[in-house]
């Protein structure tokens, strides 16, 4: 669906992308990476807004540099910045964007209206964008990216500035777009939890290179540990499990039980009955996207600074914070 081969781009002293090779299958793909890793450069190269120094970028078979116009007709883009004209009505702007993407006027008007309804802005579509809240503006941006029925959508930090309810709604929309409407989505975000929620695949960049890519569920492998949390009585439960021959580590009210086979689940159940423990949480521990992401970034300096030769300029400082229970 989206492919790059040895894609490279340099800006003055900074090598923004260095031989990035990736292949994104259909579905929803998360694009992750530290600031300065080349995410925005990659998106701009894919959209044909920049020409690469080396290598090739293809979107749905179109060469981003040589077939840019044909490619952009089937691509939608939701940039990170506000990027909306404040004195246009939402309906007019979305219609205009549809027309710029090749839709005839009648169709554009109808689809603009429909798309604004789909993103939840039906009632407000005849109001000027300048008066919209952040959440509404993000929806307009989404609508203009969607209106011309693209085959691929690039979304850059789509939940920026949204409150919890707005973020939830936006993620539901993105999920629907990728999984119900059959439009491929490439989602660039710093919020790993967002990506974990909607993405099928991830591509992780670091210092201009691809350090990981693959299906999310495949990357989020199970670890040899089962996490158990009790309301109280963690110690007796741990003892009961140890008596059954399992290795247990305790952290407060949380137990980490070594997993060798599914039998451990029965042991935990029986030990809980034996000690009358209230099991509040029980789950096989799985790598989170955060774990995967951090592992790929281990050797990059926290300050993200690189000189022209790509050498790390400062040593890594901060240690990783706690792994999150999925």
């Amino acid at each position: 669906m989206v492919q790059t081969t040895d894609l490279s781009k340099r800006f003055e002293r900074v090598q923004a992308l260095d031989g990035a090779t990736l292949s994104v299958p259909p579905g929803c793909t998360g694009l992750l990476g530290p600031n300065g890793a080349g995410k925005s450069t990659l998106i701009k190269l894919l959209l044909g807004l920049l020409t690469p120094d080396r290598g090739e970028a293809r979107v749905e078979g179109f060469d981003s540099t040589r077939q840019a116009l044909a490619m952009r007709a089937i691509v939608g883009y939701m940039p990170e910045h506000e990027s909306l004209p404040s004195d246009w009505m939402a309906q007019d702007f979305v219609r205009y964007m549809a027309e710029l993407h090749g839709l005839p006027s009648r169709v554009a008007i109808q689809r603009a209206s429909d798309t604004l309804f789909h993103v939840g802005l039906g009632e407000e579509r005849y109001r000027a964008i300048g008066g919209f809240s952040t959440g509404m503006k993000q929806r307009v941006k989404l609508a203009q990216a969607l209106v011309h029925d693209p085959r691929v959508m690039f979304l850059d930090e789509p939940t920026n500035g949204l409150d919890p309810a707005g973020r939830d709604e936006m993620l539901v929309l993105i999920d629907r777009i990728a999984h119900e409407m059959g439009i491929n989505v490439i989602l660039s975000s710093h919020l790993l939890a967002d990506v974990e929620r909607v993405a099928d695949h991830v591509v992780i960049l670091s210092t201009g290179r691809v350090v990981a890519q693959g299906a999310l569920r495949a990357l989020m492998t199970a670890t040899p540990a089962v996490t158990v949390r009790t309301q109280d009585g963690a110690l007796p439960l741990a003892e009961a499990l140890r008596r059954r021959g399992y290795t247990v580590q305790i952290e407060g009210q949380e137990l980490h039980v070594e997993y060798e086979s599914d039998d451990v689940y029965d042991a935990i159940r029986d030990a809980a009955v034996e000690t009358d423990a209230a099991l509040v949480h029980l789950k096989r521990r799985v790598l989170t996207l955060e774990d995967i992401y951090l592992a790929g970034q281990d050797d990059s300096p926290p300050n993200g600074a690189r000189d022209g030769a790509g050498r790390a300029v400062a040593a890594a400082g901060a240690s990783g914070a706690g792994g999150q229970e999925p």
């Binding site: 990476g33 949204l162 099991l279 955060e290 951090l294 926290p302 901060a318 706690g322």
Partner: protein, 331 residues
């Protein structure tokens, strides 16, 4: 990927950090006290009758967009005069009290940076304004904390949003304030920077500083502390430890998902519990609603054992901060 990835473990909270819960208590005086504070602009009421007290530790200020969080923060730092009520920080009134500002650090959401200064110059300027004995060194430390040392000698005008944000945090930290107020401090930060900053704020809270963070990203906020202030429509909707707030919500039964090998059989036994309000059965799990969660959690293993079912997972579906927040907003 061939290298093995191990999940990183949580660090055990120390005694000191357990004490710094964000709430005042016996032996822990309140650092921020707000009493009957309201703010209106003509006919429009931004904030109405707020009363709360915060102590050392991390507290999250939450609320939907437009609820009055920014107004509240501005009143807490003395930038805005309340229409009614009093705000005291560290025991003193915060309005027109310049000496007090040296003990408060603020990271506002809006930009107010001079594009022609470098990051270092900007933070040093803040240090000098606070009349620190060694401004250069203080600035260096603050910049190090936010991981901006490498880019410190470039002009602010050329910074990305995330870099500007971190420099703002540095200038708020440079004078080692006792009270730190941050409005969406993680904006623009990449995942690793977010973790590092979250760790910094947690550490500051554990060290006895009062850290008030306004943020929309609830799953991050809940990693830094569990004390919350929730503002909805200009009014205080809830304050305190969000787990305790959840426990107070009698009208919202707990939803628990139990993944097991024979959901139907286990469900049958769980339905028998007097506290169980409903159980829905899926192919590999059951989702129960219970008004007596503790009894339920005690009963699950017994029910599974009795049904000779293997218990793969137990998960509370609405215990997290996002769920609590959603319930509070929709009341």
């Amino acid at each position: 990927m061939t290298t093995e990835i191990t999940p990183t473990s949580r660090t055990e909270p120390s005694e000191a950090s357990r004490a710094a819960t964000g709430r005042p208590g016996p032996g822990v005086p309140a650092t921020i006290e707000v009493e009957g504070v309201s703010k209106w602009y003509g006919d429009k009421v931004a904030v109405s009758d707020l009363t709360f007290a915060l102590g050392p530790g991390v507290t999250a200020l939450l609320g939907p967009n437009g609820a009055g969080k920014s107004t509240t923060l501005k009143m807490l730092t003395g930038q805005l005069r309340p229409s009614r009520g009093a705000v005291r920080v560290l025991g003193q009134p915060v309005m027109d009290n310049p000496p007090l500002y040296r003990r408060i650090g603020l990271v506002p959401e809006q930009e107010g940076l001079y594009p022609f200064l470098t990051g270092r110059e900007f933070v040093e300027l803040a240090a000098q304004l606070h009349r620190l004995p060694r401004p250069r060194q203080a600035a260096e430390e603050a910049l190090h904390t936010v991981e901006m040392l490498d880019a410190a000698d470039r002009r602010l005008g050329g910074y990305s949003k995330g870099m500007r944000q971190r420099v703002k945090i540095a200038q708020a930290l440079v004078h080692d304030p006792d009270v730190l107020m941050l409005d969406e401090p993680l904006t623009g930060a990449d995942p690793r920077q977010r973790l590092a900053l979250m760790e910094t704020f947690t550490r500051l809270g554990a060290a006895g500083k009062t850290v008030l963070i306004s943020s929309h990203i609830l799953y991050e906020v809940e990693r830094m502390g569990s004390n919350v202030l929730v503002i909805v429509n200009g009014k205080l909707a809830a304050e305190g430890d969000f787990h305790a707030i959840r426990a107070l919500m009698d009208d919202r039964p707990r939803r628990v998902r139990v993944t097991c090998s024979d959901p139907r059989a286990v469900a049958a036994r769980l339905v028998a519990l007097p506290g169980t309000l409903s159980v829905s059965v899926e192919s590999d799990a059951l989702v129960a609603e219970t008004a007596a969660p503790l009894e339920f959690h005690h009963a699950v293993s017994r029910a599974a054992q009795g049904a000779e079912a293997r218990l793969y997972g137990i998960e509370g579906l609405d215990e997290d901060l996002e769920s609590v927040f959603r319930y509070l907003v929709s009341r």
